[in-house]
């Protein structure tokens, strides 16, 4: 039933000149209805037969609360913070995600620690009612500290339930492994041979500065 096309001449000269003239454009076919179509019965039965034939095909819908959708590593759930082995956040409170967040859902209160990595967030709050799950925070994070989780069902009874604090946001690495691998694979961009994991202890090491890191006891 595809509409046959017929070629027409170039558009008339009265049409605006500022556009490049399209040489040949097919005109969509307007056909008159045939007698059987005007009597309505035959097309009606054909459409009905089509609808009935759908009954014997596989369902395309999902029974949602029971059947969850397939989780792909590219899925953007809500952003969460990655936990170090000692339970502290990887985050160094640089504030870049706070800056880039388009709906301004992130609020960081920076603090200092006595460890080698001197900075850590005293408080880190994400308002999940504001978050649009765009993954900009994950993309800009220089520490691989904030990533998108697979958790796309955020529910609560009060507004306060959606304001997640540091304790609620921190997730162990094991729970985020698939997404972390996706992040390392994707954000290396054109640098296909480059190292993409941050150092395990999170300490900055430029190869050009090898052996010149400040020793721990200075802190």
């Amino acid at each position: 039933m595809s509409p046959a096309t017929e070629t027409t001449a170039a558009p008339a000269a009265s049409e605006p000149r500022k556009y490049a003239a399209a040489v040949a454009n097919p005109k969509v076919l307007r056909r008159e209805l045939s007698l059987s179509e005007r009597l309505f019965f035959v097309p009606f039965m054909r459409a009905l037969a089509y609808t009935f034939s759908r009954m014997f095909q596989k369902d395309v819908t999902r029974r949602y609360p029971e059947q969850k959708m397939e989780i792909k590593p590219s899925l953007h759930g809500v952003p969460v913070l990655v936990m170090r082995e000692d339970g502290s956040p990887r985050c160094v409170a640089c504030g870049l995600c706070e800056f880039v967040c388009p709906p301004r859902a992130i609020d960081i209160e920076p603090g200092e620690t006595d460890r080698v990595i001197e900075r850590a967030p005293k408080e880190f709050v994400i308002d999940m009612l504001r978050c649009i799950e765009c993954s900009y925070c994950e993309e800009v994070c220089p520490e691989e500290a904030i990533v998108m989780s697979t958790d796309y069902e955020v529910v609560g009874r009060r507004r306060e339930d959606f304001v997640w604090d540091l304790k609620r946001l921190l997730k162990p690495v094991a729970a985020l492994q698939a997404r972390l691998e996706w992040v390392r694979r994707t954000y290396k961009r054109w640098d296909l041979k480059g190292e993409n994991a941050p150092p395990p202890d999170g300490v900055f090491r430029d190869p050009r500065w090898a052996g010149r890191e400040r020793p721990d006891e200075h802190h």
Partner: protein, 421 residues
């Protein structure tokens, strides 16, 4: 026989509370014609057939429309003003919500404007991926149009079939971008993630099936007498009127004016692709339907070509000054760390202004951008096709019948998110 007993047991009769025929004012019978009193009717903003929050103030003479006054602005969110307080990358999230049926196509329009101003070269693979998603978004928008247009004209089952395909399309977009709608996938200089070979295969499968599904839509609509009677000769507009009003997109092409920006002012890799620009002959609602149906086939044809010959290479520009550096180096090298912070917080195109228009599903979607050389745009003007096409509602409906308003709105298919901005 039982009437008398009912009158005693029932509450006061309904006729005592309602206005009876005798209460109505006298008809103006002295003029001799059959014109009744004019009636003002407000349709919307919560009317299900007005595609969002459009209010139509109608003046009716019986069934005939004397005048139609569309009231826009119920969905105004001040996006153009918001842009002045956002970085260039952040504004992508708002362009998504312009025409929410084709979020990625809006993002591509904005990216092209910013890249033209900043003179960024986008690699071939990124351009091909952008073209692919532009065509997918055109299909997504046209599928909603087919479904909702079917519902508006009485073919309720069309909604199921159109949304079945749209859901499958969203599954593909979900796998590519991580979100089903409002994807935030385009970056300045490229796209957000690569298109994997497995996903290309899935897309090919979807595209191979799609023309069959368009045939099914036509089986349900094109030969249907009810649909014919609702659409034929309804909302007719001449080519001259359409050009005068500034209408673009399928609504203009249905009048017989073959203007498609993919051909007229080519962008991305459209010049290398083979496709037809279908045009109509009479400019009525039925022509707009036929043009959109044919555009769906052409989009599927474009997608076939692109998916078969997707160029290899980078999916984001290798441009250290304009694009975020590779993440691995940010972790270990101070220079790239500084680049990362500078690019996010201070990136700006040079001073200047630029206008870039793309062919969105509804017509010419243009971004006019003025940069003062700062990290926020100085001024952004969005030329929204829905807003301009909405002007045609009045010449299309006035003088027609009231029941045709719904068919005209369905065939124009403006999106109020884009119209009100």
């Amino acid at each position: 026989m039982s009437g008398a007993s009912d009158a005693t047991t029932r509450p006061p009769a309904l006729s005592e509370r309602t206005v009876t025929f005798q209460d109505l004012p006298d008809r103006p019978s002295d003029s001799g014609d059959l014109h009744s009193e004019r009636m003002e009717l407000s349709m919307g903003p919560q009317h299900p057939a007005t595609h969002g929050v459009l209010q139509c103030k109608l003046v009716l003479d019986g069934e005939k429309i004397v005048s139609l006054d569309p009231v826009v602005g119920y969905l105004h969110r001040g996006k153009e003003k918001h842009a002045e307080a956002m970085t260039y990358q952040q504004f992508f999230t708002l362009t998504d919500r312009l025409d929410y049926l084709q979020p990625l196509a809006n993002e591509v329009g904005w990216a092209l404007a910013v890249e033209k101003l900043a003179k960024i070269e986008v690699p071939a693979r990124a351009q091909a991926i952008r073209t692919i998603i532009c065509e997918f978004m055109r299909l997504s928008a046209h599928l909603v149009w087919a479904g909702i247009g079917g519902v508006d004209t009485g073919a309720v089952s069309m909604f199921m079939y159109a949304f079945r395909d749209r859901e499958a399309l969203f599954d593909l977009m979900d796998e590519l971008t991580g979100l089903r709608t409002n994807q935030e996938y385009i970056r300045i200089g490229g796209v957000g993630a690569d298109l994997s070979p497995e996903l290309v295969l899935k897309m090919k499968r979807w595209v191979a099936d799609f023309p069959k599904h368009v045939d099914e839509f036509e089986l349900l609509l094109t030969g249907n007498k009810i649909f014919h009677d609702r659409m034929r000769g309804v909302g007719t507009i001449t080519a001259q009127q359409a050009i005068d009003l500034g209408i673009t997109g399928p609504c203009l092409r249905a009048c017989g004016v073959a203007v498609d920006l993919r051909r007229a002012r080519p962008y991305l890799i459209y010049p290398q692709l083979e496709f037809d620009v279908p045009v109509g002959t009479r400019g009525d609602a039925y022509d707009r339907y036929l043009v959109r149906i044919e555009e769906m086939r052409q989009s599927a044809h474009i997608l076939e070509q692109l998916l078969d010959a997707l160029p290899a290479g980078d999916w984001i520009a290798k441009d250290w000054k304009n694009v975020l550096p590779p993440k691995g180096r940010v972790y270990t090298s101070m220079e790239e760390m500084i680049h990362q912070f500078k690019t996010v917080t201070e990136w700006c195109p040079p001073k200047g202004e630029v206008y870039v228009a793309t062919e969105a599903a509804n017509g010419e979607l243009g971004f006019y951008l003025v940069s003062a050389g700062r990290s926020h745009p100085y001024r952004v003007k969005i030329r929204a096709p829905s807003f301009v096409n909405l002007q045609a509602l009045r010449p299309m409906t006035e003088g027609g019948y009231f029941s045709d308003v719904v068919a005209v709105i369905a065939s124009l298919h403006f999106i109020m998110g884009e119209c009100d901005r």
